[in-house]
Symmetry: D2
Subunit: 296 residues, 4 copies
């Protein structure tokens, strides 16, 4: 394939819709489909086209982007009878940008290849703000040539598209991302509650911590909100819980121990079980508070 | 006190000597004392003065800086018969920049106050390189007025002196720093071994991870060395082990749970027990490797 | 159904064969089938019948017992085209004694009910010795009436058949069993290495520990072998690793935090990854040793 | 020394008083001292003698038993100016039955030896009930000959006095005991909440679990109370928290990793921080509930 001009975009949720709109603004011909017709209309209002089915959306598209919640959704959308592989033009580039299990990414890639498609897994990091502002980090697994073809698309959506390896590698890196992020949040939470309990000025404390080896993007972006117990998402605990399951399973399959990851996965799961699945993942601080002294 | 001109510097180790030299270069009159006479001579060669005892060093100094390994050393140097409080000029500013237990910092501060001294706890972060390049982060506990008096001294030694609270607060923030740093290293190690096991290009992987919410100073400064298993210190496991004991104890005293901190403390202790106390703390990656598949 | 006289026994492995032989000795008419014909012949030599297929085995049997390694095996044996549900006499009692996922147990039970079968999940605890000596603990999920019908069969195989709830409950209790057992082994291992490092007489130490509130069946049965580093199975790490996956997944689904369970699951997985999957689960002591001081 | 006839008993608390009374009943001449005069009178009412000071109590006693809360108390009682070593008859057998740090046990033993005393550390397990019913487990560190001399005393107090090694070994075994007990309680709690969440009959479930390899004295003695959320002590969280600090510190000193121990220590500390220090240690179940789904 030489160049991508027309794109079918399947899945216009919180992430997918602003991404599709950014592609429209960049001059791509974008046809969208999602379960909620209202959201498809919002894409149309921005200059895209609205399709009533996957088949209609992917018709003659050079590339198909999927952005759906979980592994079974990707399987349904790509492999289903009414799905992408059954209806897209042979040779189309298929880019799954959902966050799913690496092994499922490999499976659908192989399945697509059998039917003549070139499939990339390209999950993103950066949240709704990153999607709207086109500042997503994009971790891409698949063939080098396909990455090159998709590159102009990725450049519209984010600032850091990186080709990290063969099929599934993008999802693997995303899994590692979620492991580190959850762990960093928990560590900042433990440190913050510890400092508070000792009567330290935490605004000054976080400033100096962030200026040294303890510094992190988590502290920069979430530290102040955590100090003030503002836990509006952001990135929801319920989604992070799904992702922690992905990384613990993928680590087990690879024979790799992730003891800190496994422990923080328990706390993410605990928050969800407590009914806090809708809060930002920085609400891990609640777990530290529950386990510590103070009025409750 | 109006202004600090003369400084006694007790403890001219890996950190202390370059710090004292930087103060000499900045125009302070610095008299040094340390157990190894050879190191005192190195200070003298740079324009400082060499003292043969604490008493001689602190004689008429406006300020005394102590930089020694551990809590008992600080107690000995400050409280001992031949120590600082017994020999320094009344009213001198005493700045302990060692990393010690917060409760000991409070105790020596109170003890100093009884004898007419103004005591700050001002531990640093940034390692040998930070000491040499005068880029230390400095976390200061004590009175606001004393912090203001000491500020010109701190500005010579580092880039981020921050007053974080009353006596002991500097050590508390340093303890939190060590908790987060050990945890972040362990998380990066878990992610790295996980990515390797899945055949991901880890150079590209770390790049994209560091560009997103998973990014951290640990990843920036230690990631490449960890990829290549280069574990020269840097900051030694044996010292980090001491610091993890400080933070776990201080958290327990405050009634704060630090489950991730307590778990990574076990791994830091394990490395030390294995005889790796002299390696950089990024050698936590060895623990992850030991617990994972592969030739060994 | 009034009474079980004829039994088809599918899966004559380390556990299944001695169980089937015990049923023969107790007077049941037992027809066996397993993939290795040689093992079927061993049953025949003890007075059972050898079948060449599941269909042949289950022909007119009052009850079918399945004893196979993992969830997919149970699905294949029960649900497959050549499997039990497709070939057994309508109304037969189907007892799955394998250790599998509780949700799979529920699924096959429902599937069996649709086709007119009464299905119990009845995993066991006690290992090869328990199977040979007919001293298995049996945890049974399913209908009370079916449990009553199966009771005479269970009484031949073990000493403690207990009806613990509806379909799937047997597997849930077995999962809890594996959680506690792995945790207890790890705790005894931590205590033992700790005592050795302090120069305590561990034979006397374990004796007094086992006589008090710290006492456990793990200590009674495994303590001496652990002291002497004898790790012949017994129950293999590879199987316990499978079971830890079952319990961590089932706990997540139920919204229950099992932090100690999740951590010890990492260590069981680590042992397997290190190539020790064939050792007894008491080899968790190796992990404690690796993480501790001493010649290695 | 040939035989112990007269005993000074220092510390007549929940444990000490019934122990002292049992010694009176067994025919020993027992003189008691404790801070609360009322409790000394209760001993006198049972046939013992009441002393108004340690000096008066230990006067001509063949043996001195101390039973006080913590390490500093033992140091004060044994080493203080008005203490045991300053006032007891030279050559007396000194038996500390408190639960304290192994290193403190070794220190006071050495200190006693310098002054001509023979010192044993002999902490107990079994709680108030064990003290009253004379069914304590007793773990004894010190010289073999001294253990033999003390044996008749121990036989009155408990059923399992065991000599486990040199001075300090008794406390080390007690520390290991507390590690295992806390861990076992946490594991039973995780299993119990897990079973409840899956709708299992937990009475039947615990029965079958306790009959197999998962069985333990914790399950036997605490299982029913945990099912019904009855957390009256028994053994208080506040004391167990102290003991977890002892074992984590002693493990660190020995270079031994106790990851499960360190994690459960966090949860014991959390319960205490939450204000539940007065509940039985089986209240660890509350932590599991907090971290899990359900009405709250």
């Amino acid at each position: 394939m030489t160049q991508v001009r027309s794109i079918a975009f399947v899945g216009l949720g919180i992430m997918g819709l602003p991404m599709a709109i950014n592609l429209v603004k960049a001059g791509f011909e974008v046809t969208g489909y999602t379960l909620e017709a209202e959201r498809t209309q919002r894409l149309a209002a921005e200059g895209g086209k609205a399709a009533g089915s996957i088949a209609e959306a992917v018709g003659g598209a050079d590339a198909v982007i999927t952005m759906v919640p979980d592994s079974p959704d990707v399987e349904a959308v790509l492999l289903g009878e009414d799905g992408v592989f059954a209806n897209a033009a042979s040779g189309a580039l298929v880019i799954d940008m959902s966050t799913i299990r690496p092994d499922v990414a490999r499976t659908v890639s192989e399945e697509g290849a059998k039917r003549g498609f070139r499939v990339l897994d390209a999950p993103v990091s950066g949240g709704e703000a990153g999607a709207v502002e086109a500042k997503l980090s994009i971790m891409v697994g698949g063939d080098t040539a396909d990455f090159a073809t998709a590159r102009p698309v990725f450049d519209v959506l984010g600032t850091t598209p990186v080709h990290v390896g063969p099929s599934g590698a993008g999802q693997t890196v995303k899994a590692a991302n979620q492991l580190i992020v959850a762990g960093n949040i928990q560590l900042v939470a433990e440190a913050l509650v510890f400092l508070e309990a000792h009567g330290v000025d935490t605004e000054a404390g976080l400033e100096v911590l962030n200026g040294g080896l303890a510094g992190s993007t988590v502290m920069t972006r979430k530290g102040e909100a955590m100090r003030h117990r503002r836990f509006e998402p952001g990135f929801r605990i319920a989604l992070h819980d799904k992702d922690m399951k992905i990384v613990t399973t993928a680590a087990r399959e690879a024979g790799v121990a992730i003891p800190l990851g496994a422990l923080v996965a328990q706390f993410v799961g605990a928050l969800k079980a407590q009914g806090h699945g809708g809060l930002d993942h920085s609400a891990l601080l609640k777990i530290v508070e529950q386990l510590s002294a103070g009025e409750r």
